[in-house]
Symmetry: D2
Subunit: 457 residues, 4 copies
Amino acid sequence: MRISDSFSSSFTAAAVTSIFSEESGLQSMLDFEAALAAAEMQEQVIPAGSAEAIAMCCRMELFDRKALAEAAALAGNLAIPMVKQLTALVRAQDAKAAGYVHWGATSQDAIDTGLVLQLRDALIVMEGQMSAVCDVLAGLTEQYRTTPMAGRTWLQQAVPVTFGLKVAGWLDTMLRHRERLSELKLRVLVVQFGGAAGTLASLGARGTDVSRALAEELGLRLPDVPWHSHRDRVAEVATFCGLLVGTMGKVARDLALMMQTEVGEVLEQAAEGRGGSSTMPHKRNPVAVAEILAVAVRVPGLVSTMLSAMVQEHERGLGGWHAEWAVLPEILKLTSDALEKMLDVLAELEVHADAMDENLDVTKGLVMAEAVSMALAVSMGRSEAHGLVEAASHRAIAERRHLLAVLQEDAVVVQHLGAEQLERLFDPLGYTGTAQAMIDRVLSSYAMVKKYGQVAR
Amino acid sequence: MRISDSFSSSFTAAAVTSIFSEESGLQSMLDFEAALAAAEMQEQVIPAGSAEAIAMCCRMELFDRKALAEAAALAGNLAIPMVKQLTALVRAQDAKAAGYVHWGATSQDAIDTGLVLQLRDALIVMEGQMSAVCDVLAGLTEQYRTTPMAGRTWLQQAVPVTFGLKVAGWLDTMLRHRERLSELKLRVLVVQFGGAAGTLASLGARGTDVSRALAEELGLRLPDVPWHSHRDRVAEVATFCGLLVGTMGKVARDLALMMQTEVGEVLEQAAEGRGGSSTMPHKRNPVAVAEILAVAVRVPGLVSTMLSAMVQEHERGLGGWHAEWAVLPEILKLTSDALEKMLDVLAELEVHADAMDENLDVTKGLVMAEAVSMALAVSMGRSEAHGLVEAASHRAIAERRHLLAVLQEDAVVVQHLGAEQLERLFDPLGYTGTAQAMIDRVLSSYAMVKKYGQVAR
Amino acid sequence: MRISDSFSSSFTAAAVTSIFSEESGLQSMLDFEAALAAAEMQEQVIPAGSAEAIAMCCRMELFDRKALAEAAALAGNLAIPMVKQLTALVRAQDAKAAGYVHWGATSQDAIDTGLVLQLRDALIVMEGQMSAVCDVLAGLTEQYRTTPMAGRTWLQQAVPVTFGLKVAGWLDTMLRHRERLSELKLRVLVVQFGGAAGTLASLGARGTDVSRALAEELGLRLPDVPWHSHRDRVAEVATFCGLLVGTMGKVARDLALMMQTEVGEVLEQAAEGRGGSSTMPHKRNPVAVAEILAVAVRVPGLVSTMLSAMVQEHERGLGGWHAEWAVLPEILKLTSDALEKMLDVLAELEVHADAMDENLDVTKGLVMAEAVSMALAVSMGRSEAHGLVEAASHRAIAERRHLLAVLQEDAVVVQHLGAEQLERLFDPLGYTGTAQAMIDRVLSSYAMVKKYGQVAR
Amino acid sequence: MRISDSFSSSFTAAAVTSIFSEESGLQSMLDFEAALAAAEMQEQVIPAGSAEAIAMCCRMELFDRKALAEAAALAGNLAIPMVKQLTALVRAQDAKAAGYVHWGATSQDAIDTGLVLQLRDALIVMEGQMSAVCDVLAGLTEQYRTTPMAGRTWLQQAVPVTFGLKVAGWLDTMLRHRERLSELKLRVLVVQFGGAAGTLASLGARGTDVSRALAEELGLRLPDVPWHSHRDRVAEVATFCGLLVGTMGKVARDLALMMQTEVGEVLEQAAEGRGGSSTMPHKRNPVAVAEILAVAVRVPGLVSTMLSAMVQEHERGLGGWHAEWAVLPEILKLTSDALEKMLDVLAELEVHADAMDENLDVTKGLVMAEAVSMALAVSMGRSEAHGLVEAASHRAIAERRHLLAVLQEDAVVVQHLGAEQLERLFDPLGYTGTAQAMIDRVLSSYAMVKKYGQVAR
């Protein structure tokens, strides 16, 4: 029974932190030891009864964890003193069984398989978090699908979009991350079992059978060959998180920019003690957004560490392997934390559709210049239309007037478009092209992932 | 017709360099423009005949590339002046068609779809290189499957492995990288087409139809929504390369260590002018291995840059997008270069099985201590056997004698094992457990990938 | 004569690019070879006349650079084939002197000392660029020292600052970077000369004398011991650039935010073909700012590569050293490029003081709430004053009115402050504390650096 | 009184961990608050007596740290709830003084100045650790200055060096790191005090005086201008650590390679439970070396994070600043930990001079080929000598004989050198050039740093 079962239904950053606690790490290694004994007993490699005796002692509460930590510093890893304590615990119950603790295995087998068990739990939690974020994003997409706002490129207003389309773009990316996660789980959730140098020599001819039974016992796949110093599996978990965090950083940056005092299109929810300032009552600091951005600043460097650490020597690395121990859990915890903050921000996002609307008028109609130009092009040709609108735009800028007002004075324009259509052209929603169709496509993919777990291609 | 067609059958680093040359980059954008015109003509968005006129000018040889580069520095990207020159070229042929150049598109559409076309070519080359490396690795695995050598952990000799098993471990990892590549291609090879801010507003109601036709024209998939500022696709190419390079760094490190003067188990091939030293005739520098290791040092930082760059603002990023332009091609070129060096080293590797054998005796038999201990355990129990061998080992170390000699003097040992079996226990190959079965599994997966393009699960 | 002499007075990114061109790299190694021969002749280690004969051939124009590049790929570095070609060139002139080419040196001596010569040139250029940026910043500080604008924290308006103070903060940081550069030059600009493994064994007892003469000849310092595999010197150049680029990224981010359509406080200069959009006449894209930000995204990863590469084996590294070759020049070129863009943006910056002023009113006076509160505190006590202003602020928000209007209705406030002072409190410049004194301090440090090259402490 | 005073004499990684504990972080901010009150009372900005009342409460034991942590998560930083609790504590003692807590300051002032106080302590500890490492390195240099060993380039034996020279190279680098540390302390150890947006507006005209008094109170320098969003100071601490760790990684890599089973030139000290393997009695794993290497893998990515984080917005950053909070302490703890491990390994290093000697013979004399060639060159000319030795070397390799034996059969060689000198030429120590002079120079610089704290130039 995995320590994480109790919270497997709770998709929180705290769950991931708990999965990578010292206690949980120890228990994961003990789960490996118990499963190994069970597999070996089943394969008649160790005597009947030993597995039960061993399993009874594979509970981390029984261990002196302070002594473990100290011995680990000397020994170079946690597994060596863990096996020693476990052996002593078993010996106190069943002297014979004690001789079969950790039979045929090496430290790395316990550490890496233990890690895979932790990863399995952590990825389940993150999958749940990602699913919840997608649900909220889908809701926002639907709700604001026709709420116009300025599309912005180079931090300059370009042409209108809708807030729903913007959110659909975020959602679309999240769906790809879910696909990536499904794929990598097949590669990553495998047992590590090789003995001293990966040959399982001390099990003689029984290595394969025991390996198979062990994998089954743990519900993990059996790889073709032990992967001790081949770290692409664990590094891929890191790169996956790097990609996911990159997307969350993008969303957070968008939100932070929209929350600026001068923009004011969205706000993090208000709460007592949240993001306020005692002397500046107008401030509503984007606290959760800042934390997501901080994660987005931190994770890329950690991913590069995991990649650098892949260069591990021979059958067990020197330094590279050790570097992973702190870094991979840190990446997962940060990613899960960002997911939690993201859910928190999005689920309670204050959306100011009025501010979006007002900001669309900051350029005094210039943001609609392309729309007018395209409409005129139909009857007067593209080049002439473009020249005409450009001139009007420059006049509007010079005279600090609204482009519509300038154009209304232009007889040619009014003749070609009619006064009514001209005014209608300044309705931003009218110039959002296929935004609605795009939204439909994304929502449909979302529905498919929701239903079948993946997008059919 | 893609510029890369001429070398698509040549899987070399030079091909990748050529794919990311300025010329090829320009041509890729022009391929987008030609395909866009074709799609729009087919959908009757632009007049009959314009597409042909435009396509005729979409050849990079016709462009003033020096002027382009200068204008790009001012304009902020290459697409803006490219469209200007293209329009001028078309105008000289067909004034009307000139009005439909780049119709409905924005700079980023040309740049990003152009990039995807380059990526498609580059990934084909790398796939070919990876396949060739796998072939060589499979050959080495088979050839040296029973050649014993020291397994080494923490840079210390542990127990014997075979050189074939070591290579099988490398091969196994490469097969996973091929699987990753297959998966990501489905996500990455998509068209980017959104117009000024991703709504295709200037195409009115025809955006979806044109998009579909454009994707078909280019042989790319159509995404649910434009992905301008959502960079997980391109960043994933970078992380894939990071994982692949990490593995190559690991293989190169193994080789470098085996090539040390004091180890001498393998050598890079000798060649006139290669890795020699005029004053030190005994030197055979691992030149290609050094370059692979250099790539492994460089790529992780570049991957972190691609991840950091994902935080792009609103509908087009400021800085993040620009950072990708140099970095992603650099990653692909370095990766392809490392693949080429890897193939070069492995295909001509000098393997010194005798040195592997001699090195197994450096510890004077201690590397076989576990084997003896396990054999004794059968009859005398594990704990007693272990104590006995440990004492003998310490004596061997203290007296600088061979462990076999020390054990041969021990009546108990000789009685339990017999003189002959005792000596046989010091045959390293006899203590390689399930190495052969593991090799079989890896080679079988290799054969499956070779035949079906992937491993069945 | 260094190749760079011709442009040493021209502080441009192009100069740095030229310093790190292939040609210039080759010439730098040849400068080492010429100086080595001169030093050895002076120390009577090689015969009279040989140095002149060698120096005559140490001109990169004489070399077959294509052949060099090809041989370098095989040999593992450029120095080996360079020495071969040089020897052949000298032999054609003076057979005896040919025997003394590269006497006592190893490849790394030529490569690393050549690199130091390039670094010296590049740092001179960058020093010039930094100085020019500081001049412009000092000018802006002075010019806008009393121009009020919103101070912003968490992307929210906080209290007023002046634009001059903001610029003074940028300038202050640049002055520290100049200090760092002065310090590191003393460490970095040293000769590398050690022979095959750092002992100068082939020079017998004359190693020290020759080293000293060589250093003098090149105008570099002589280190206590060769530094072949100790890379802190070159890595420090990288970290220095990392810090400098970090600052430029911060300045660019500030500018980008101020250039937003909704903020409009500054603009990059307009120019034909610069940052415009043909269909969106209102756009003025921050092109140069985007490039600085891109550099700021790219350099941190490259710095981490230089640090990772420091782990070099024994007397010459395998991979780490090779990684530096492309990365360090790239860092310097990017940094110099960002400096150039920074100068370009700042020297022609359009500052819209009116927009700064208008933005200070976006919060309808709330940005001045602290000022009013502090003023009231004098007579009514801090706590009561704070409560009163907070209540008024909340009313202003709720009723969408200006804080001043709300306060003017409050008899207590008017009584304590008087109508006139109350209104004056809403003058932002009146609430900028010691900004002017801070500006004076920074400008005085700037003047000192300008005059003495450094700040006295 | 700083919390760190009690262990300031104990230069351990545990001390650095303690300096960056939550408790110590809180206390550092409280030290800022107490000093601020003292400065303001001295400048008569706050009433007599308030500073004492505030100081009495500035003890972290009085705080509810659990409540703090929870409130910090909501508020976005620790300073806001800290000030609240502090105010409450003071109010309980002296209601009037409570009104002057944190007077004129902003959260960042407390957080950043608190950080500087922690950095000061941590740098003192690290300085002590570096000094201890230098002492041990100087001892090893002296002890093994004439112990010959193989110099190795590209992981191939090149020509002889001495172990003392190798260590002198390590020492030389460490001395430069000490110089860097001295320089950066002048820049980094400054107060941060700016109020809401860096103007000290709420202190009216008294900002400068209070700042000066505050700096004096804390024993820190006063910068020209607040540095809230200018992070070069803290980032420089990170880059310094990056350089230092790079050097330690290099030393650790050298040691790991020398510890290989096949090389055996040095060993980490043996200890009960240290680096052993229960089933492989010959193993002595380089446990501490592995941890140093792990740090060298981890720190570069963290440094790149600190550099990326420098891009902070306006007067207070969003995300970048928050990223620093965990990363900078992590860098310092890892660096200090590596220093401790380094001291541990070096102080008890088992040096096997005999193995060094034996390894010099692995090439059967080829490692001395250059020495013979140079000696012959004196009488027969360089080119002829080189050809002769090269031929002999190839014969030695082909016939698997010792080069000396081959040369002894060559009448020309014997005639030129004499039998005795020929044999003497194979003494490695005789071919170590100016190694002793280099060692003297490094030891003399070390002595100078020891005596005066720095090297005179």
